[in-house]
Symmetry: C2
Subunit: 326 residues, 2 copies
């Protein structure tokens, strides 16, 4: 097993080392392949990522990724989108679950669901044209793309409460009829209990009754919007991990950005990155993954927390404490 | 002034009469043109709305609309979308403001903003194709379409706190660069203070810090999603009004649906429909519009409220009480 480690920019360089310390505590045999990508690299060399880097990444099994500052160049293609495409990471997975003792914006803590977002097509097709008076982007839904994401979501549902919610906008978008039909078929064939919701109603319902949901499957940009919104239920974008999963590769990334305003002070919160390690271990089939949940609960209870959560610990101190527990 | 009155189906037939009673209390000279459209009409006659109806509507200045149950016919074209298109109602306007004494999902009541959604293009272009293996929809952004919605939003901002937030996804969608650029230009030319947000970050930020926003302008489906989500801040989809405004016509509609489950019992909440009357009066330039806010505050304080808000009053009783106050 080879793991590419991409710290990226800003607080990526703080939270990833903390997460790696936690990973190391598991004493697994894995080769770590550090790669420098992103804004700082672009400033130094003029490229944020090269074809060579992609090859190196493809020579690994998985990637642990921090955050990259956006490069202010109109021709710049997002490192993240490029990696997703190159590794065909078709499932973007975001667990939404309260952390012990942390209050989300609604004060509720009775929810535990996962958003599975199709990660390769929809409005991210890249098929578009810019004109002076008119620009367009093609939103593409394929049967194959819908099938594989539905399969992924259904497998996940079977490991959980066997409940799938299909989120779409087929009252307006004919392209979503295909998505909806395929998801229904796949869920039926797996014996997964399913229902469907319009994306606008779902945005409302997730805020009002998040406890109703188990696994949610949706198209690319709807998943993008809903999953950021749901970070408010948890309490902060800084606390949620994500995985981008393909047939062959997997990529793990905290949802927060590079946060240049607090970078370099050693006070960034490493919990999202640490929860990415949990997702990595789950993906590897490691039965010890859930120890990370316990460890995180433990540091939260003992108030070994960074300033964003009202504590005084450093990034490294939180990392040590979680690693210690593990 | 001629006002088309479309009750529609389900609770539309309860809340609109209550709202009309409030409107009548203003003693304005206006001709009311009742029209039966929707599901019940479709069941009876096989059409939900005819070309003749559109002509009648075009002979009016504005429409007060209840709710229509979706017709289960694959060839059925939404009455709402047809009217929006026929009357070229390019601005979908949703004020998001707490009601006195009603707690939203976050418990906060320090926000007061308006979402202005482009209502004619984007993913609602209608340019699409369904195939067995691939379906697509074209997301269209035009300079003209962006200009007129930006103008609308800026005029609104100038009547308020002069602050505009442009919501887009131009880090992925090139079509949104056009939207963003045009909105910036229009805001500059009006001297409106502006900033922009990515739609995913905005979904999060609206839940975390709704008090930061004044006027928000965005493309069609982003506005659809964000505005339903924001009803959770107010406390219920059943409490928020909306307006669809064009150069010539305007259309007012509570955001809730026809709610067949509670229809016919006379217990549906008419406040959203009544707040639509307020928006209608504002559109007409009637300086008394804000009396409706006072009246609504008064019935809420005196607990003349329907069961959804924990009260025992009927739809008609709430309508009477508000009309009485006016
Ligand atoms: C940075 C951006 C391209 C990306 C996306 O839109 O997918 C991000 O918002 C995410 O959710 O990972
Ligand atoms: C009913 C549907 C076509 C409509 C839309 O998507 O615009 C609704 O959700 C709205 O927001 O008015």
């Amino acid at each position: 097993m080879r793991l590419a480690i991409i710290e990226g920019d800003g607080i990526g360089r703080e939270v990833i080392p903390a997460a790696v310390e936690v990973l190391d505590a598991f004493g697994l045999e894995l080769e770590k392949v550090p790669l420098e990508l992103g804004y700082a690299r672009w400033e130094r060399t003029g490229t944020a990522m090269s074809g060579e880097d992609i090859k190196t990444i493809k020579g690994c099994d998985a990637v642990l990724f921090g955050a990259i500052t956006t490069v202010p160049d109109p021709n710049y293609k997002s490192v993240l989108l490029t990696i997703r495409k190159e590794l065909d990471l078709y499932a973007n997975v975001r667990p939404v679950k309260p952390l012990p003792g942390i209050k989300g914006v609604t004060g509720k803590n009775n929810f535990d669901f996962i958003i599975v977002r199709e990660n390769t097509e929809g409005l991210y097709s890249g098929i578009e044209e810019i004109g002076h008076d008119l620009s367009w982007t093609k939103r593409v839904v394929t049967r194959k793309g819908s099938e594989r994401i539905a399969e992924y979501a259904c497998k996940l549902a079977k490991q959980r409460n066997n409940k799938l919610t299909i989120v779409h906008k087929s009252n307006v978008l004919k392209s979503d009829k295909l998505f909806l039909d395929v998801c229904r078929q796949v869920a039926s064939s797996h014996g997964v209990e399913y229902s469907d919701m319009l994306v606008d109603s779902m945005a409302y319902s997730l805020m009002m009754r998040p406890e109703k949901y188990d696994v949610i499957v949706t198209t690319n940009i709807f998943g993008d919007i809903l999953s950021d919104m749901c970070a408010a239920l948890v309490g902060s974008l800084g606390l949620v991990p994500s995985a981008n999963i393909g047939r062959k590769y997997a990529f793990f990334e905290p949802v927060h950005g590079s946060a240049p305003d607090i970078a370099g002070k050693g006070i960034s919160n490493p919990l999202a990155a640490i929860l990415c390690v949990k997702m990595l271990l789950e993906w590897m089939g490691n039965p010890g993954a859930s120890v990370i949940d316990e460890a995180v609960a433990d540091v939260l209870q003992n108030k070994i927390i960074t300033p964003d959560l009202g504590g005084t610990s450093t990034t490294a101190e939180v990392g040590h404490a979680v690693a210690e527990y593990v």
